[in-house]
Symmetry: C2
Subunit: 190 residues, 2 copies
C-alpha cells in the first residue's frame, strides 16, 4: 500500500495573509498607513511605530476570524490534497481566544479539510510530517523533514530555508522535487 | 546537552475521568444509574441503554469543561515533568466546541503546563514523541514510540498495549522502564 507523504501547513502568514491584516488593523487603530517595506527584516510587530500594537491585535477578539486568505492558497491546497496528506498546523495556543476563531475560519475558507487533519499546538517540534511550510524559522529550524519557508516581511533576511514567495511557487516546487513524493508503508521510496 | 524524552499525554480517559462523567451525565439526563461493569469491553457509548446519548453529551456545551480530574493525575504529571517533556495531546477537533472548554479545563487543573506543550488535534499520527499515554488503541496503534494504554471501560479486552490502571502505575512503569529515559542531543542513550 502506498502512503502519501505528509505536509504540515501553517496558518498565519501562509494560509492567511497576516502582514496585510496587521497593516489594515494598524491603520484602523492609529490612522497611520505603514508601508510593507517598513516591516522587512524586522521581527513581527517591530516595524510598526507603536510598540506592542501588533501583539495587542493578536489578543483582540475578531483578529484571527477576519484574516484575509493568502492569494492562491485555496486552489493550491486543493491541488496538493490529490498527492499529499495535508495537515493544517497552527501555533494557536499562545492566543487561546484564537482557537474557536481559527476553527471557524478554516470551516469558512477550507471546509474541505477534514477535522482529523487540523492541529492547534504550541511548540511545533511535536509535529511528525515529511514537509513543513511555515513562515517562522523557529518552527522550521526544529523540523526533521523538508522545510519550505513562505515569504513574509519578518523572514526577509533568513537564508537557510528554501524560500517560496507564492502558493504557485509551492506547487512548482513540490511537483518538481527531486525525490519522488510517494513512499510505501515501509517508509521506502516507491 | 541532555534532552528529556517526551511523553504525549491524552486528556479524555487519562487526565480526565470520562467514564465516570458519562455515567453521571447519563443519570442526570435519563434517571438511570448505569453500572460501570455494563460498559466493560464495549465501544464508548454502547454500554448505555439510550443509543447516541454519549455522543450527544460530547457535543453539549459544558461537558468537557466539567470533567472530573482522574485521581492522581495532577500529582503524577507534576512528578513526571521533572524527568520528561510532557505534552498534552487531545483529539479535540472532532468536537469543536470543546476547544475553549478543554483549554479552560487545563488552565484550571493543570495551570503549570505551558501553552507550548498543549496540542489539540484530530488524527494523532501527526504526533512526534517517545511515549504515548492514551486510552484509545486507535491512537496507540499508529504511534511509533512506546505505548502505554490507560485503563478504560471500552479498552478492557485490548491486550496488545502495556496497560496501566492508575497514575501510580504510570509512575512505577516509567521509573523502572528498562531503557534509561534520558537521551543526549545526538539521540544516544546517556
Amino acid at each position: 500500500m502506498k502512503t502519501l507523504k505528509r505536509i504540515a501547513v501553517d496558518m498565519d502568514g501562509v494560509l492567511a495573509d497576516t502582514d496585510t491584516h496587521f497593516i489594515t488593523w494598524y491603520y484602523n487603530a492609529y490612522g497611520v498607513q505603514v508601508p510593507y517595506e517598513q516591516l522587512l527584516g524586522k521581527p513581527e510587530g517591530e516595524g510598526f511605530p507603536e510598540k506592542g500594537a501588533i501583539r495587542k491585535f493578536a489578543f483582540t477578539p475578531g483578529f484571527f476570524r477576519s484574516l484575509p486568505v493568502m492569494p492562491g492558497a485555496v486552489e493550491a491546497i486543493t491541488a496538493l490534497m490529490k498527492d499529499f496528506e495535508i495537515y493544517i498546523v497552527s501555533a494557536a495556543m499562545e492566543f487561546p481566544q484564537s482557537l474557536a476563531e481559527k476553527h471557524a475560519w478554516l470551516q469558512e475558507h477550507f471546509p474541505f479539510i477534514p477535522w482529523n487533519n487540523i492541529v492547534f499546538c504550541g511548540d511545533k517540534s511535536i509535529i511528525n510530517a515529511d514537509y513543513m511550510i511555515d513562515d517562522h524559522p523557529k518552527n522550521l529550524d526544529k523540523f526533521k523533514g523538508v522545510t519550505i519557508m513562505f515569504n513574509a516581511a519578518h523572514n526577509t533576511n533568513i537564508t537557510h530555508h528554501q524560500r517560496v514567495v507564492s502558493w504557485q511557487e509551492v506547487l512548482n516546487l513540490l511537483k518538481t522535487v527531486e525525490a519522488p513524493y510517494l513512499i510505501n508503508s515501509n517508509g521506502n521510496l516507491s
